[in-house]
């Protein structure tokens, strides 16, 4: 059979949306199993197609078309056009593979995880809808479609965070995510407008081709003229910051963990949050001519990497730890992009998607096994009943901490990508790129913290003795707003109740299979694709998708960094492991003691640097005060006054003027004559 790459791409993009439509519109009438099967099945098909394209492109047996596949023109307003397209290049191929494969795994996993939820069709419809939006984002050929996908994933994320809509905290979280993203999106929209303003088009191809003619363009008001490229790059980066939860706009991501765990895995770890990285990579031609903006990207990325990691070590909620870990890893990707090694950023994105999704799903497995307990302080000793999950989580931890042997090709996925980034940062700092040195050291420090909190998580959860409520205490932290679970679990586990052993059960096969598959990726993705993404084959692999200015040799220079740099990440990782072992494995209770001893610092970290409180005081309270002012004075007094005034005046005028309609023919005739005379006079006066 000879299927063209175009056909495959169409399947990839549109299979999920078909599933979403079927499950979304007919989910109420169809049996839940049908909706689930259809969405999952279509996602599998999409994933198979996407992986076919990816592998084909990787081993060069498949040539991608130069032009995007044009499907239809969906906006055409006076010169501003946008065509719905599927852009096929290295970035989109990689992203399609990542998105569909993780998404299909999450779909499958949700069969088990959501088994006792009464709203399964809705859940699966949202998941598929999200996947479609994400795919249209990564395959966009112009900024408008990108924005569509951008908002589409935002919407899906909003819907899924608040999936347990009866839960107050979930509602708050979904609104928070939406509002914080709006800040970023505002920048993004301004960025798109600036692109159109400067280039007169929003088509990536045309924009990127025209950059050499616009490098020295400026934009602004009157005397205040700023270099256009820097402005565009910064605005686009603000959008990326919002979506990718970078420092200052990160506050929504941990709260987004209110959503069901599969959602966290898919959206808030593997795919959506990486959209910002994709955007920056995609716009590499712009960022490469905007050194200042790139510097800002580096700085913000580095700060995020270390900042999130510090918070991660003090959190007790298993999902929050992973959420901050995600935030931190995204910081890595951004500073990689900031220093111009977009390849490394994409590579880390790629590997991160596997091991982070796996960690989340593994955590979900634990949560599921412990009847929706999320507090790590109430876990411990879970390894006994959940051996498979334990193994999976260990693989994930090894992958995220980047364990591998420098100088060889042996290591977990994270080893290759993270080391590539850190080495590049060192190379960049020796080339004098702004903030590169800072990024390097922050990267090293963050690697240590990553290792520490990852192992902390593993030890607190799986080793030791069970610290929770012996009867599998039923907490509402995660799933059970719909509360159908209770009857189902009671008694089921009392049978194998032993002292100090967690009352958990291993997850069903349908949840474990996705974990195995992702584990495969977490182990081998780095090893297999290292060469193509950041090695010798990088230039061929990325082709025109990533633009790197001729002076930028960092990707090659990183091979020539001193040996100590190459061993540095592994060293700190092992130190982190050692630290975690000391605190959480060998000395029980040391963790709490340290926390007590370093009271203010711990509180500072535990409360996430008080960002929520700060934002609450400044923005939320401020906005409320402002809103109150506008509401009570501006709206109620002024606008309502005017509107109501106009409305009642209209009514009065209407009542009065209706009297003209007397019903007498001679009145009517008279009015006609007067009008005639008036009009005659008008033209005569005008004439002369």
């Amino acid at each position: 059979m000879n299927v063209t790459v175009e056909t495959l791409a169409l399947i990839v993009v549109f299979a999920p949306v078909i599933g979403a439509i079927i499950a979304g519109l007919f989910g109420r009438v169809l049996p839940a199993k049908v909706s689930m099967t259809v969405t999952t099945g279509l996602l599998m098909v999409a994933a198979a197609s996407a992986i076919t394209i990816f592998i084909g492109y990787w081993d060069k047996s498949l040539v991608l078309p130069d032009e995007p596949i044009r499907i239809f023109k969906w906006i055409d307003v006076a010169g501003f056009t946008s065509t719905w397209s599927i852009r096929l290049d290295a970035i989109s191929v990689v992203m399609m593979a990542v998105v569909t494969s993780v998404s299909s795994m999450v779909h499958l996993y949700s069969w088990g995880y959501m088994s006792d939820d009464p709203f399964k069709p809705r859940f699966f419809a949202y998941l598929s809808l999200f996947t479609f939006a994400m795919l249209s984002l990564v395959t966009a050929a112009d900024f408008m479609q990108l924005f569509f996908g951008w908002e589409g994933v935002g919407l899906a994320s909003y819907l899924l965070i608040g999936f347990y809509f009866l839960k107050r905290s979930a509602n708050d979280a979904q609104i928070k995510a939406f509002v914080v993203n709006r800040v970023g999106d505002f920048g993004f929209v301004l960025g798109i407008m600036s692109v159109y303003f400067v280039f007169g088009t929003i088509e990536f191809k045309d924009v990127f081709h025209a950059i050499p003619h616009h490098i020295h363009d400026t934009m602004g008001w009157g005397k205040l003229q700023l270099p256009a490229m820097e402005v565009i790059a910064l605005l686009l980066f603000i959008g990326a910051m919002g979506k990718s939860a970078q420092f200052l706009l990160h506050t929504w991501l941990p709260d987004a963990m209110e959503g069901p765990t599969p959602v966290s895995a898919l959206i808030h770890a593997a795919t959506m949050v990486t959209a910002g990285v994709v955007l920056v990579t995609l716009c590499s031609p712009i960022f490469q001519v905007a050194p200042f903006a790139s510097g800002v990207v580096t700085l913000i990325g580095a700060i995020t990497a270390i900042f999130a990691a510090t918070i991660g070590i003090a959190q007790n909620d298993i999902k929050r730890v992973i959420a901050y870990s995600t935030c931190s890893q995204l910081g890595y990707m951004f500073f990689a992009a900031g220093i111009g090694v977009y390849q490394a950023a994409m590579f880390h994105l790629f590997t991160h998607a596997f091991f982070k999704a796996m960690l989340f799903l593994g955590a979900g497995s634990v949560i599921h096994g412990l009847h929706h307990e999320q507090d790590m302080r109430k876990m411990g000793g879970v390894w006994k009943p959940m051996k498979i999950t334990y193994a999976i989580m260990l693989i994930g931890t090894l992958a995220i901490t980047g364990v591998g042997i420098p100088g060889t090709n042996f290591g977990f996925a994270g080893f290759f990508s993270k080391d590539a980034i850190i080495e590049s940062a060192f190379a960049a700092s020796s080339e004098g790129l702004p903030f590169a040195t800072f990024a390097f050291w922050m990267g090293i420090l963050a690697a240590f913290l990553t290792s520490f909190y990852s192992w902390r998580l593993a030890f607190m959860t799986f080793t030791g003795t069970f610290r929770g409520d012996a009867h599998g205490g039923h907490h509402d932290d995660d799933a059970h707003a719909h509360a159908v679970h209770a009857a189902h679990v009671e008694g089921h586990h009392d049978a194998h109740q032993e002292d100090g052993v967690a009352p958990a059960h291993e997850s069903p096969l349908v949840m474990l299979v996705p974990l195995f598959i992702l584990a495969f990726g977490a182990i081998f993705a780095g090893f297999i694709f290292n060469d193509a993404f950041v090695g010798e084959g990088a230039h061929d692999f990325w082709g025109h998708a990533i633009y790197v200015s001729p002076e930028n040799h960092i990707l090659h220079a990183r091979h020539n960094v001193p040996e100590w740099v190459k061993f540095m990440p592994l060293t700190v990782t092992l130190l982190g492991l050692l630290g975690a072992m000391i605190v959480y494995l060998w000395n029980k209770g040391l963790g709490e003691k340290i926390a007590k001893a370093t009271g203010p610092i711990h509180a500072f970290l535990y409360n996430k640097w008080y960002f929520d409180e700060l934002y609450d005081a400044v923005f939320v309270k401020g906005a409320r005060a402002l809103g109150d002012f506008f509401w009570k004075v501006g709206d109620q007094k002024l606008i309502d006054g005017i509107i109501n005034g106009i409305a009642s005046d209209t009514n009065i005028i209407s009542k009065k003027s209706v009297k003209v309609q007397s019903g007498y023919v001679y009145h009517y005739a008279f009015i006609m004559l007067i009008a005639l005379v008036a009009f005659g006079a008008l033209v005569l006066l005008k004439k002369g």
């Binding site: 209706v658 005639l676 033209v683």
Partner: protein
């Protein structure tokens, strides 16, 4: 002119001939076949109209054909208008069948008079000199006066007919006076020749006469301040007649006014733009404000048609470059929607078969007649201009034309008037959907049902094909230079 050129010219007038001959044959049929032929005549007249409408489009020449020494013009602009006129008039005739039969008014003259009125409208939209204007207007009006007074034993109907007749005669007088002024000062009544004269000379008498003609046609369009007859006549006339008044004649008059101003005075837009703009503003004001106080559905729709003719005036004020297409598109959509709204009105009968015209009588309609309510809702949404529906596109086109044509203030007033008018349309819908039922409402009879369903479907289903109508009206509108 010799016989050959007359037959040559007549060949282009097939639709008109079909209507004229059809009307005469149907009169004969009504006179010689028994009274029971009423239904047959009604349906046959509908067929005649459909054939004429179809032929009008089918036989539309590629280029505008000026016939009879420049008195009459057949072109795509008129062809499109004629199609819509025939279509809506056919709907109005269909709507009349059950209503009249129920009230022992089923005389074959009704459809025949309607046919002759349509003939007058055809002449109006094709008029290319002032004599044709007058003949068309009179032919149409005379038939309409009779239709207004058709229920001759009903005092209100007689009053409506008389009022319409007296005021109509006055307006015809004004129009004729204008014609005579124009002829007296220029020696011609032909649009094309008037165009060159108006361009070359600054002739006060010509412009003065133009204002008179403009006012005369404005009366037929029921544009403020020549609108005063409209609510009274609409209320008093039998409802099917009102349905007829509100649709095809309005479109014909609007198209006629457009053609008169664009083709005879298109080069001197500034001379008439003020007058047209004032009429537009007044109509929008009256249509939006007066309607707020109405409790009678027929009066409400009268103000609605005044309002919509105000919008049409905005299109005319936009000038000969941007105006024609918008005018055509808008009036076509208005006429279609309007006939549908009257179809709903005619479907409103209480248990004794009496028609319900009070708005309060509509309360809780949705609980008794959900489909009818849905139809009414679609039509009201359409005429309010809610986006996916047909009505939006007409209004939008006018808005664009107004902006392009340099009459931005009118565009703004149009928006404001739309907002105010939305209130009274929605108020009816509120009564329909949210109030408790007060009286038992029996739906319309067979033909009414068919018509309402047809028009509703047309509005709903044509929406996706708006591009088609749009392209057609654009192409037709571009017949003007």
């Amino acid at each position: 002119m010799n016989l050959a050129s007359v037959t040559h010219d007549l060949a282009f007038m097939t639709p008109e001939l079909v209507i004229a001959v059809g009307a005469m044959l149907l009169v004969l049929m009504g006179a010689f076949v028994s009274k029971s032929a009423y239904r047959a005549i009604t349906y046959l007249s509908v067929v005649v109209l459909l054939v004429a409408g179809f032929l009008g489009v089918q036989h539309a020449p590629d280029n505008a054909q000026v016939l009879f020494n420049g008195s009459y013009v057949v072109d795509a602009f008129g062809g499109f208008a004629k199609l819509i006129i025939a279509l809506t008039a056919a709907c109005a005739i269909l709507l009349s069948a059950d209503y009249l039969a129920e009230r022992n008014l089923e005389k074959p003259e009704y459809p025949v008079l309607a046919l002759l009125a349509v003939l007058g409208m055809y002449v109006m939209v094709s008029a290319h000199d002032l004599l044709a204007v007058y003949m068309g207007v009179e032919l149409q009006s005379l038939a309409l006066y009779v239709l207004a007074a058709y229920a001759r034993d009903d005092r209100k109907s007689s009053e409506a007919g008389l009022k319409y007749f007296v005021l109509g005669a006055l307006s015809s007088g004004i129009l004729l006076y204008g014609v005579s002024l124009i002829y007296g000062f220029t020696g011609t009544i032909n649009f094309g020749k008037l165009m060159t004269i108006a361009k070359d000379t600054s002739n006060v008498g010509l412009i003065f006469g133009m204002v008179f003609v403009l006012s005369g046609i404005a009366f037929k369009m029921s544009v403020a301040p020549f609108h005063m007859w409209t609510p009274d006549v609409y209320e008093g006339a039998p409802t099917p007649s009102t349905a007829f008044f509100a649709t095809a004649p309005k479109m014909a008059a609007a198209i006629l006014l457009g053609r008169f101003l664009f083709e005879a005075f298109g080069e001197v837009v500034s001379q008439w733009r003020d007058v047209v703009s004032i009429m537009a503003v007044l109509s929008m004001f009256v249509g939006a404000i007066f309607a707020l106080q109405q409790t009678n559905m027929k009066r409400l729709l009268a103000y609605s048609s005044i309002l919509n003719m105000g919008y049409a005036m905005v299109a005319i004020a936009a000038g000969p470059v941007y105006g024609p297409s918008a005018l055509l598109l808008f009036t076509a959509i208005y006429a279609i929607t309007s006939v549908g709204m009257f179809g709903v009105l005619l479907s409103m009968r209480d248990a004794k078969g009496k028609e319900i015209t009070k708005i309060s009588g509509y309360s809780g309609l949705s609980k008794q007649r959900p489909l009818l309510s849905l139809a009414l809702t679609i039509m009201f949404f359409s005429i309010t201009g809610i986006p996916p529906l047909l009505g939006f596109f007409g209004k939008f086109q006018i808005f664009i034309a107004a902006v392009d044509g340099g009459v931005m203030p009118l565009a703004l007033i149009l928006v404001i008037a739309s907002v105010i008018s939305a209130f009274y349309y929605l108020r009816v819908l509120k009564v329909v959907w949210f109030d408790e039922p007060s009286v038992e409402i029996v739906g319309g009879l067979a033909t009414t049902k068919v018509t309402v369903t047809g028009v509703t479907l047309m509005i709903a289903l044509l929406t996706p094909f708006i591009g088609l109508i749009y392209t057609a009206s654009m192409a037709a509108g571009h017949f003007f230079k």
